[in-house]
């Protein structure tokens, strides 16, 4: 992994994750020419796709000819490592992936799956986008989001705190405050 020291272009990886869901529309979108070109323009060198249960297989590429290097896998127990080494994360709208990425302080584009029946996940992505913690896109608008995004304008997400809830539960049950 990592950069080689002899002046080679620094590695900037985009990590795409669909979690345990089936989200071929996202995999297809990031594998499209227009998205890959926008990512190249933005200075990214590598694209790593966690494709989950999907059936659409992206095209692997070594990136020798100055194009984007593309790699993919289905599942991994070390998603956290991939997130940590990424310069940009493109994720499905699951709250687990969203908050894991935000906590690592990585720039994040959440792509909403419009095929889901009970699609409340849009709510979370849009709320967090409104608060400028991430960008929210659809598979067909992803390339526009990448083109127009300004990562400097994203605000860090303040980590939540379960203590107040724990305190109320303790009070309810009659436990003394510490």
């Amino acid at each position: 992994m990592g950069d080689t020291e002899n002046g080679e272009k620094a590695r900037k990886t985009v990590f795409v994750t669909v979690g345990t869901t089936l989200f071929d529309a996202l995999v297809r979108a990031v594998d499209s020419l227009e998205v890959k070109q926008e990512l190249l323009k933005r200075g990214y060198t590598n694209l790593v796709i966690q494709m989950g249960r999907g059936s659409y297989t992206p095209t692997k590429s070594g990136g020798e000819d100055g194009s984007l290097a593309v790699d993919f896998f289905t599942f991994s127990s070390s998603i956290a490592d991939y997130l940590r080494s990424a310069s940009l994360v493109i994720s499905h709208a699951g709250s687990g992936s969203i908050f894991e990425t935000l906590r690592l302080g990585k720039p994040l584009i959440v792509v909403v799956n419009e095929d889901l029946m009970d699609n409340h996940q849009i709510e979370l992505a849009e709320e967090l986008a409104e608060r400028k913690h991430l960008y929210c896109a659809r598979p067909q608008t992803l390339h526009q989001t990448i083109e127009s995004m300004d990562l400097e304008s994203l605000l860090p997400y303040p980590p939540g705190d379960a203590m107040p809830v724990a305190k109320l539960i303790n009070q309810f049950l009659g436990f003394p405050d510490d």
Partner: protein, 232 residues
């Protein structure tokens, strides 16, 4: 003769009806009392540990629950029983890891204070509401078996549907006087504008003693809910 017989049967049937009505009224009173008493803090409680049932959802739900557990006093909420859906292998594994890390900290075996169980799920993500009636019934029977075994004093849950049969039975136990348990429901952070189906049921039927939401606009919509910030 005939007249007398008719009179007797009328008296008998009116007695039955009266008995029936009184019975219904008593049961209703008890149900209303249970609803009323739920959501009221416990009046007196010796500072003793409470047996705790933790219902794990999946993915993000489990992460949120473990986040809450990590700040709860482990010696107060003990022994702990974890229940996850039979189709969800990851959640119990994460709970085991969590309990093992506690055991490592304290140098005691996790096995003593924690139990892990699986339950049929009442509704899979994406399953239609119509077919979920049948699967919910099945889940209730299984939940009853488990609840008779566990009889928790505290139930912590945060959706999705897995927790509904367990909470419904806990409420039944309250009505019947088998066990008074306090039910705490934390709505997922993914719910920004509307409660989930599970959250809505527990809120409307007043089954949850305390219901927490993680967005202020949701609390404004459901005033009996508590908002004290995000957990994630």
């Amino acid at each position: 003769m005939e007249k007398g017989n008719g009179c007797c049967s009328i008296m008998a049937s009116s007695a039955t009806i009266t008995f029936f009505l009184v019975g219904i009224t008593l049961v209703m009173c008890r149900v209303l009392y249970a609803m009323y008493r739920s959501s009221k803090p416990l009046r007196k409680r010796a500072p003793q540990p409470v047996s705790t049932l933790i219902v794990l959802g999946s993915g993000g739900h489990t992460a949120e629950m473990l986040n809450l557990l990590s700040v709860l006093q482990k010696d107060r909420f003990s022994p702990r029983t974890y229940i996850a859906a039979a189709t969800d292998n990851m959640s119990l594994q994460k709970a085991r890891l969590f309990e093992n890390s506690l055991a490592d900290e304290n140098g005691v075996g996790a096995v003593k204070t924690a139990q892990f169980m699986q339950i049929y799920r009442s509704r899979e993500v994406g399953q239609s509401y119509a077919t979920s009636v049948w699967t919910t019934l099945l889940a209730i029977v299984h939940a009853l078996q488990l609840m008779i075994k566990i009889r928790p004093q505290v139930i912590l849950c945060n959706g999705p549907g897995t927790c509904i049969p367990l909470c419904a039975i806990a409420f039944l136990f309250k009505v019947l006087g088998i066990r008074w348990s306090s039910i705490f429901y934390v709505e997922s952070i993914a719910r920004v504008k509307r409660l989930s189906l599970s959250g809505l049921l527990l809120y409307k039927l007043r089954i949850a003693d305390e219901l927490f939401v993680q967005w202020p606009q949701l609390q404004r919509k459901y005033p009996r809910a508590h908002y004290v910030g995000c957990l994630m």
